[in-house]
Symmetry: C2
Subunit: 398 residues, 2 copies
């Protein structure tokens, strides 16, 4: 798996983890456009602040570098955090003879601790030497924190006899309630597209993929989603949404992003279930999202799913607390898959606890809430809440 | 412990629990005023709907009854739930020869299952026979669900040679993020006060006590907080906040309510810590509450407290996701007790991990966040998040 114009390398800097690669360098050739979306946290990390600024100054005529470390978030580190990230970027820009603003830093890990600058600078020459087009799988491994497996996705499509590819990697898997993107995800494509349209594409895709997942309701300080477009596969640059190629491209980016987002949820800290929450017949998408997230964030709903207990009353509770004004409980219905659980705001006459319990034994569970007050709908994906979640997060720093 | 004008009785109806009292009857003499505050859930339970209606029709010239059951919430039960509760009320009103609207029903327990009407009606004669003034402690026991101990509080004060008493009971201890009151709490006093002022007093007290606690961020369908005033201790009825007696009375109600609210948090499902979250220097009380609840609801913060791990970066994360617009992270500071953990949005120069860790070994933990942008402040109380929480809620129905 590779993208023409992109090379990658990983190295072990012992930022936090020992005996594994924990730093990733991605290089994009001249001509590459970059789009990025970042956390909306008020406490956004130093690298996020730098990426935002660099995005405005980016020059597609120079090489572009993404430098990522796992194990330390470089967040809650104040001015010192910016100095640390800039020191590393400066070293890399000197090594590769590019401008400072071409270096995009990313960090993920423990918040509040100083970034070990010397360790990361120490592996830069080695990273540069090892850059290769087929290192995507190593890359996906090097950015993991509490993830239990690497997350990669790829798709290709044809247009007028030419082949285009979109692929990406992501990492989770705690502090996941993206308010722009998941912790870290890097996607790349060989299409030629204007930077404005690339950014619009990424934002639209994120809104129906990464921005529709949650594991624990906690939004990271470091969420970053990047899409690189090297332009190697075509000569004609797409500049408008009306371009025939755009809709094919959009579908491909959406497919890869959705698959990565789902992989993050499936690997949610301690997760044993993958839960799809559909909310339909809402007055607005906004209220559908409120209801979906009230369910997805309820510890009582999540522990019931973990227990495979058809305690669906807790879902009604979550709908009730979602803050939808003037909701008429008597019009609300609830389904597990196609099985009607509740209708008219109460247990369905046809309710069958054995059937409901059997459905909950599946790893993948679909629930649908009909609000009975309009045509809006939305879907959110989440996981359950297990003992293992507590174990992981009671020991993550150690 | 007793209140002149109030009698109580408990009985075992096997609503869900076996071999323990699970139904409570409270009788208030003629002349008693009643105030009540209820859940804001759109899925509020049948008894809550009936209580709200009865409150408007209540006649202080008749006897007043509160009838409570534990083990079944009678929520998510639609029209059938109203019929069930009314059937029981009607039986009691016939037995005691009072109007229907004098019977206030309360339920707590599993949501969505039909209320076992016959079982509850079966114990009514026995309840009526056993009514006695000194049954408060039995009452506190009979309303428990996942609570590990009964919650009672009492205080007295003197005014112009007369003694006044306020006392109450409460139960929790999951699905606790009161948006009006905790699951169930019944308070009583012997003061004579107008119904309007009694309601105002209860609302004001709830806003700084029960409405400032959270265990898991889930708001119950059944939250009900009741204050009965029998008027036995004085002849003069308080009708205005300017009355000298009112401020003493308000302080007493506040003291009892705060103690009950704290007892609920200390007994939070699986809780090992009692955490006080102070947010200061906010622009508005509203934004202070947003920050306090973002911290109090974060599973990552709560598991770190459980682990006694000074992973304070997670608190910065929670502040960051709270949705305070234009928050300047560089002005934020964080304290554990008097120990400065972070200042200017980053680790304090004086930070001492050993001292921080030592503080977290206490059962009671105080944290203070200064937002550095105004004079508003608030306090919220919560608990940690343990393996035991998952165990309790993965097996609650069984």
């Amino acid at each position: 798996m590779q993208i023409d114009g992109i090379r990658l390398a990983t190295a072990a800097a012992a930022v936090k983890y020992q005996a594994r690669d924990d730093v990733l360098l991605i290089e994009a050739e001249q001509g590459t456009q970059i789009a990025g979306i970042f956390t909306q946290s008020s406490f956004c990390a130093a690298p996020v602040q730098i990426c935002r600024a660099n995005l405005k100054e980016h020059d597609a005529n120079e090489l572009t570098y993404l430098l990522v470390n796992a194990g330390n978030a470089n967040a809650g580190t104040g001015e010192q955090g910016l100095i640390a990230a800039n020191e590393i970027s400066k070293k890399l820009s000197q090594l590769q003879n590019v401008s400072n603003q071409q270096i995009f830093p990313f960090s993920t890990g423990v918040i509040g601790e100083p970034l070990p600058v010397t360790k990361i600078i120490g592996v830069l020459p080695n990273l540069v030497d090892k850059l290769a087009a087929d290192n995507w799988s190593h890359a996906a491994n090097a950015i993991m924190t509490t993830d239990t497996y690497p997350k990669v996705s790829k798709t290709s499509f044809e247009h007028q006899g030419k082949l285009f590819t979109v692929q990406g990697i992501a990492k989770g898997v705690g502090m996941i309630c993206p308010n722009m993107a998941t912790l870290l995800s890097f996607m790349a494509t060989d299409i030629k597209i204007s930077p404005l349209l690339l950014q619009k594409c990424l934002q639209d895709v994120a809104n129906s993929t990464f921005n529709c997942i949650t594991i624990d309701g906690d939004t990271s300080t470091n969420d970053s989603l990047i899409l690189l477009a090297t332009g190697k596969a075509n000569n004609h640059e797409i500049t408008t949404m009306e371009d025939e190629l755009y809709s094919k491209f959009y579908a491909a980016v959406h497919k890869v992003a959705l698959e990565l987002a789902h992989l993050v949820v499936r690997d949610g800290e301690g997760a044993t279930k993958f839960i799809t929450i559909n909310v339909k017949q809402g007055f607005s998408t906004d209220e559908c999202r409120k209801v979906a997230y009230a369910i997805a964030h309820s510890p009582l709903v999540k522990t019931a799913f973990y227990a495979e207990d058809a305690n669906w009353g807790r879902i009604l509770m979550a709908i009730g607390k979602a803050g939808v004004s003037d909701l008429d409980a008597r019009k609300v219905s609830l389904f597990f898959g196609d099985l009607c659980i509740a209708e008219n705001g109460k247990r369905a006459d046809s309710y069958d606890e054995d059937k409901a319990t059997k459905l909950l034994k599946n790893k993948d569970i679909d629930i649908t809430v009909n609000l009975g007050r309009g045509d809006a709908e939305t879907t959110v994906w989440t996981c359950d809440f297990s003992h293992e979640y507590v174990s992981i997060n009671a020991s993550y720093r150690s």
